[in-house]
Symmetry: C2
């Protein structure tokens, strides 16, 4: 068996407060910005700004993003691959993710 399943909330189970809470943490938001290209990213891929974080801290943020419904995690062999659940989020909370990402960019440009 090369693939196991991790639990993910269904689209209908996504809660606005959970998603806002997931995105409220600057490190998690930076990860979501990385995943905003809608490609799968290895769990070991970390944005430059987060390279000072301990690996277990990054893992914990990635787990939180999965549990709160922001990313889908696929396990393949020894690797984990993360992908933004853009379609599910857009279906459940239209316009929300775009508004957050647009302002995340804005904040980054200003600082």
């Amino acid at each position: 068996m090369t693939e196991r399943d991790l639990p993910h909330p269904t689209t209908g189970q996504l809660r606005l407060g959970d998603v806002l809470g997931a995105l409220a943490d600057p490190a998690r938001l930076r990860l979501v910005e990385l995943y905003a290209d809608d490609a799968e990213h290895s769990c070991s891929e970390v944005p430059e700004e987060l390279r000072g974080l301990h690996k277990s801290t990054v893992s914990h943020h990635q787990k939180t993003l999965r549990e709160l419904g922001v990313v889908r995690v696929r396990i393949a062999g020894r690797n984990r691959y993360l992908m933004l659940r853009r379609g599910d989020l857009d279906e459940r909370f239209p316009g929300l993710l775009d508004a957050v990402l647009a302002n995340a960019d804005e904040v980054a440009r200003k600082t």
Copy 2:
């Protein structure tokens, strides 16, 4: 003296993570929905869904909303009046508040 000033972050001091965190709590989001008419509301005015909360819990949420820059609080005599900082939020994070409020409505309608 009938009015004292409470500390508020300036528009430039508003942080995306803070605002998302402020709105991530369902009780605070419900308060923000109450304030979304852009009128001043007495601190004692509480949406029906929050009437089971202890008064000190509501006060704490109102204080958090002020400290994180979501509402402006005016003290007049023995009363406090809260107002959504819509203009400041829209200036700093265009589209964000509208996207959150639109989905707060959506969630309320669905449940």
